[in-house]
Symmetry: C2
């Protein structure tokens, strides 16, 4: 498997082991990882710490994002896709988009290259969490629980 996606999956597993939502992300330039992160909504009671935001945050103030790729175990939502577009990250590699479609079209409209690896391991990991804790998952993506 892609080495960077493997690292994003490890981040997602780390989140799960902390009692959090299993989504992980890494930021890459020229074959080197500049930042890693995972969803920390539960761990830090922080609504904005989606995996990709945590990852970009952990990478720090690194200047231009043009030559970077953001790997995530899940297709980025509008919050994270908004960060990609605003900061000018050139490429997104997602582990899957079946559990949540995300904002692929928005990314592509803004010239971001998007690859969906469609990995069973990513789907299984997130879908088992969603079945177990649907209320936390809905909170994370801004949906009502129970559905209205």
């Amino acid at each position: 498997m892609d080495l960077f996606m493997k690292c994003a999956i490890e981040e997602a597993e780390l989140s799960r082991s902390e009692g959090g939502i299993p989504i992980g992300s890494v930021l890459v330039r020229g074959g080197r990882i500049l930042g890693k992160g995972h969803n920390r909504r539960v761990q830090q009671d922080d609504p904005v710490l989606h995996a990709e935001i945590d990852c970009i945050r952990n990478a720090g103030r690194i200047g231009s994002y043009r030559e970077m790729a953001l790997y995530s175990t899940l297709m980025p939502c509008y919050l994270c896709a908004g960060a990609v577009v605003q900061f000018g990250i050139g490429k997104v590699v997602a582990g899957e988009s079946e559990s949540f479609a995300g904002a692929r079209e928005f990314l592509e409209m803004h010239g971001v290259e998007v690859i969906d690896l469609d990995l069973t391991v990513c789907k299984d990991m997130l879908q088992s969490f969603i079945e177990e804790r649907p209320e936390i998952w809905c909170e994370d993506i801004g949906e009502e629980w129970p559905p209205v």
Copy 2:
């Protein structure tokens, strides 16, 4: 002046007094402020802490955002507009959009009500910072400095 925008301006002034980018934000529901924040890129070396993200973060895990309005001294960029759309915040009130056009069209496409107050006080505050520290401003919105 609108009381909530006055509070957002106070947040922006607080950021400026800390040496940061003067953009402030408040999150409001039913006439009550649930969170306040300001840009902290400089103060915390944190690239994701735009004023609106800081504000949403400070409000904590507050459940549904449907009936909320996000006030910001500047029209939200794609990162912050992405948060608004993903979390389902219904309304955005911006102090101005002349210093930076932001993502108004994207917000409106997703059903968010957007009001631009076009306030001189907000423009003057941000534009004097941009003149003084163009490199930090460009970093904040993901642009190259000097321009390429």
